[in-house]
Symmetry: C2
Subunit: 483 residues, 2 copies
């Protein structure tokens, strides 16, 4: 992108370089201009808190001249038009819970959408809700569930925003039955890089009317347009939900049984796998305990639906899983017990982080290759001495892997990590997998994504970017874009 090259001068990509006089002038111009239409508490230009310059990992830090807090699509449009005219990069962000550096600014303006956090409409007649992008997932889930409805996408980080979920096509545990964020976004209001406001999609269940720009925007990591409104699809809240803990003597048996379960016609909501050693980490971190059973690996299942349906599925699941080698089948129908198991599962990343710095990998592989991938990572751990903690969504092939620094000194860590990541991603590629199942590419996985993608594919994505944002000002350098 020619424009990116131009913008990269003095805009944070090389923070040590002397500030570019043209950029400074542009920043001053735009600050003065924005002040005409926004209140002073909507513009931050001095002492910018580091949180606005990073992601949830906090390792990559960018630079920005301004952080702006719009409160409406009209304000977003005004800000974008100003940035467009002044050719300043804009990095949109929600709660900044991403793990990939997708919100690390490259100079210019950070567009913080967290104040656009209103639920605009709840429409039970069409099973939809319309929200602003800054609504937190946790808040939205509670809101609709109180009304007897259900928003299935359920990524681990509930303090993320809906806009962020859409921008990364966030997945989560319920994907195996209900799909991912993509499956629940019906329409969007967008502000293009030049400030134009457009609406894509609708409240309609079917759509064969032109190109699906809604679907193109989902997962585009803030590179194509700024999301200012989201029409989301809801389901009726399932009547009943129950989990089960299923111990296996080997990882191989545990993961192999997932296919049998899927083929059996039961419809589990979640199928998570976790190894014994990882459980121990989680137990130590939370102070909670898994129910005692001897296992190398566990599946944690959830079923939801009508009570009879769930009970029927549980019975069927128990039969097929025991036949596949499960050494037990513990229905977690005591709420306290279920809470405890899920608390441990939910805390695994934090449990790892309490012990060591870690690099999160969220590779997805075809569902029949999970065991091969996890076994490869165990082998790599033995070979390199670098810790690999894996667990995740066995039902959909999305493996979460923490590559653990442990006591490797910082000066060696970067190099060793890079070497190990290259092998992990290359294995995923060999198995027909993808670099990211739900976190997105951002900056952290860019190099591996580029390696895994054909030049023609990258070129096409970059040309599409040009259609939306000819000056390349929106989140430059992220995901599929040129650095």
């Amino acid at each position: 992108m020619r424009m990116n090259d131009k913008l990269s001068i003095g805009t944070g990509r090389d923070r040590e370089a002397a500030p570019d006089i043209r950029t400074e002038v542009r920043t001053d111009t735009i600050r003065a201009y924005l002040k005409k239409k926004l209140r002073s508490d909507q513009i931050l230009s001095d002492k910018i808190d580091e949180k606005y310059l990073s992601d949830a990992m906090g390792r990559r830090k960018g630079a920005a001249a301004l952080v702006v807090f719009p409160e409406s699509a009209a304000e977003v449009s005004f800000i974008m038009r100003s940035a467009w005219e002044n050719e300043l990069p804009v990095t949109p962000r929600g709660a900044g819970t991403n793990l990939t550096g997708a919100t690390v600014p490259d100079g210019g303006i950070v567009l913080d959408l967290s104040r656009m956090n209103r639920i605009l409409e709840f429409d039970p007649d069409t099973f939809t809700a319309t929200v602003e992008p800054g609504v937190l997932l946790a808040d939205f889930q509670s809101y609709v569930e109180e009304k007897g409805y259900f928003y299935p996408p359920d990524p681990g980080e509930k303090q993320s925003t809906i806009g962020g979920n859409i921008s990364t096509n966030a997945g989560g545990m319920r994907a195996v039955k209900y799909g991912v964020t993509r499956d629940y976004v019906m329409g969007l209001e967008l502000v293009k890089a030049d400030g134009t406001v457009i609406t894509v999609g609708s409240r309609n269940r079917k759509d064969s009317s032109g190109l699906s720009l809604t679907n193109l925007l989902i997962g585009s990591e803030g590179t194509l347009a700024v999301i200012t409104k989201c029409i989301l699809r809801l389901l009726p809240k399932p009547e009943y939900s129950v989990s089960a803990l299923v111990p296996f003597r080997t990882l191989r048996e545990g993961i192999a049984s997932v296919h049998t379960l899927s083929a059996s016609g039961t419809a589990p909501t979640a199928v998570e796998f976790v190894e014994k050693d990882v459980v121990r980490l989680g137990e130590e971190f939370t102070g909670e305990k898994f129910p005692p059973c001897d296992a190398a690996c566990y599946l944690i299942l959830t079923f939801d639906g009508s009570r009879t349906g769930v009970e029927e599925d549980l019975k069927k699941a128990e039969t097929v899983l025991r036949r596949s080698g499960a050494s037990g089948f513990l229905v977690l129908d005591e709420p306290e017990l279920a809470k405890r198991v899920w608390k441990i599962r939910g805390a695994l990343v934090k449990a790892v982080e309490a012990v060591s710095i870690q690099e999160p990998v969220d590779v997805v592989v075809p569902i029949d290759r999970i065991e091969e991938f996890v076994t490869f990572c165990s082998g790599l751990q033995k070979e390199t001495g670098i810790g690999m903690v894996s667990f995740g969504h066995a039902g959909d092939g999305n493996v979460h892997l923490c590559v653990v620094r442990g006591d490797i000194p910082q000066e060696r860590w970067e190099t060793e990590l890079s070497a190990v990541l290259a092998r992990i991603y290359s294995k995923a590629e060999e198995l027909g997998g993808l670099i990211s199942g739900e976190h997105g590419i951002g900056l952290a996985k860019k190099r591996y994504f580029e390696h895994a993608s054909s030049p023609e594919l990258l070129e096409l994505m970059r040309m599409i970017k040009q259609s939306f944002d000819g000056k390349g000002i929106l989140n430059p350098g992220k995901s599929y874009l040129e650095s």
Copy 2:
């Protein structure tokens, strides 16, 4: 598109105009060139059968210099490269069952993909199948069902191809529970206008790795690239399936009850509505009979899943529907009876066509506006004297409307039809609906689609088209493209 304008000279848009000498030269060049790599039975240049110049309606006829029958992606690539170099328009087609003129060629080459009809791989381990685009839906459904699997998309026309289904994002009756074609396409192999072969998507269940070009291609009506391979997602075949016929005394009650049914937590596979008069047409056409019951309108429901689950849903459905005014609830558990009812429902379009020429409309409206839309059409019929037969997918808001010519003389018909269609589409728009729920835009609905879309949106779609096909040779003038 500048290119389109250039290509339109003598390429069928104005069939009466004198043939353009440059086009003729280009066509000769390419014919000679193609003959070097393709067998003679793969190229048709004399006496081109009219079916290659039209769609299933047969009313719009285009022109083409060549019909080419590739048998591999390599051949498609070769043909596209030749067309690209010679700047000749290419119209891809499958079985040509579309109703919108999407396969009406605008000069140049018709690319008939019907010989690329192999099922390349059936992979039960990942619940996927990989097929060529020319595989017929009916063949594919039987193939996977024989193996105990299930491909949910179920548009009415089973002699359509998978490639065509993807190009229109075809829906069908099972969409209310299972979604549409989009939800079952995991990856594609594509040949771009310049002949480049690219692969998008994969066999992975989750994907947050760059822009979703797979989703952009779905529903793009042959304008962006030629599909040469499709990775499709399968489900385990439901254990049991049963339908029910539910009579109502008024259309209003029948349609209003659909929401109550959806909110009840039952998961019907199909929720079709049909009015009494329309049933009568279907009965006369098929020689079959609906079971006798006095009703102004019927819902036809299907439930599938485990036997207990289906029975539970049936019970629940009967309770809520009777409470909403159903005057009966007839479970069609006798296979003969079920077959009869579905035969009548499936024959409705043909039944109308047996009586008169009709114009098919497949508007989709938000699910709470169906009754308003159908009532509007009845009013329009009374006001204009033009027959309107409506029925369709009550569960997802997709109304099929046949606008019936009856005995209106041809010279008046075109004008009257246009006037009536403009009012129908404008009503759909007012209700928050879309021009097409599953048929696509093609040529037939272009004018209404353009009217309903903002100039910015159309411009954006056209710029995306440019990213894929800078010369505008792929299916020029269709859907969102400029005429």
